[in-house]
């Protein structure tokens, strides 16, 4: 649907899916954030799945971009779920002292879609 460098933004079942497969430099990460928000506005998607299975490392910069993207998406009426966080990456973030309380996470894309799917249905119903 749209490319930021090597990161495609796809629309799956009414949800935006961003699968990060490569180690992101700071500028690419920031550009990706902007592209995701634009895609939300353009498609009116109420759910955003960020698949980070391919990320071997999440440092404070990447973590901030991920958390901020979720916050901004929420202001646009979109729920964000991060999926596929590797155990060693989750461990590293917690050990560094990140507050992960506001991050919604799921094990894999299926579980993430399920979670967002429920919300999409509920929202369309009222």
């Amino acid at each position: 649907m749209r490319q930021t460098g090597q990161v495609p933004i796809l629309r799956v079942a009414g949800v935006l899916l961003v699968a990060i497969q490569v180690d992101l430099g700071d500028t690419v990460a920031t550009a990706l954030q902007e592209d995701v928000l634009e895609a939300i506005a353009r498609t009116g998607s109420t759910g955003l799945l960020i698949d980070v299975t391919g990320l071997e490392m999440v440092d404070s910069f990447v973590a901030r971009v991920l958390v901020d993207t979720g916050r901004m998406a929420r202001l646009m009426g979109t729920e964000t779920v991060i999926v596929g966080l590797r155990p060693e990456v989750a461990g590293t973030l917690v050990r560094m002292g990140f507050d992960v309380s506001e991050v919604q996470a799921a094990l894999d894309i299926d579980e993430g879609l399920e979670r967002l799917g429920c919300k999409v249905v509920r929202r369309g119903a009222d």
């Binding site: 180690d23 430099g25 700071d26 500028t27 071997e56 490392m57 999440v58 440092d59 404070s60 910069f61 973590a63 901030r64 590797r86 155990p87 060693e88 990456v89 461990g91 590293t92 050990r95 560094m96 002292g97 990140f98």
Partner: protein
């Protein structure tokens, strides 16, 4: 001190990499991971040294105006290690104590880089003086 801890760290390889651009930050952390992999680090230790390297090298670029990163593969009494020495000639860390406590940042970011990196590695040293630049040395040892 246990005898193995007292053994001196042998430097097996050493390479110096420039820290001049964002791409350099990616290259240095990628190299740190390769060395950790080669030294037989488990996934958690690999992520720890890679992430800590990323934080420190980015700081040298963003706060220190660039510098040089040296990566070493170590062996101490049969235990594998990876060490990063990152130096810049920037303004130095103004309030080191506060910066190491975490949550303090001049750029309005998270301020978890320095304090976070320290928590991720086994040995951590910062040498910094106003106007005299900053050198950070960190070492991660493989789990036994």
């Amino acid at each position: 001190m246990a005898p193995t801890e007292a053994a001196e760290a042998k430097v097996l390889t050493r390479e110096a990499l420039p820290v001049r651009s964002e791409d350099d930050v990616v290259l240095v952390r990628r190299r740190a991971r390769e060395l950790a992999q080669r030294r037989g680090f488990d996934g958690f230790a690999q992520a720890a040294i890679t992430t800590a390297t990323s934080e420190i090298v980015r700081n040298a670029l963003v706060h220190g105006g660039g510098g040089e990163a040296t990566l070493e593969e170590l062996d101490r009494g049969g235990r594998a290690g990876v060490r990063l020495t990152c130096r810049d000639e920037g303004p130095g860390v103004l309030d080191l104590e506060r910066a190491l406590r975490g949550g303090f940042s001049v750029t309005g970011t998270l301020g978890l880089g320095l304090s976070g990196a320290r928590r991720l590695v086994d040995e951590f040293e910062v040498r910094s003086a106003p106007g005299a630049g900053t050198t950070v040395v960190l070492t991660k040892w493989a789990r036994r």
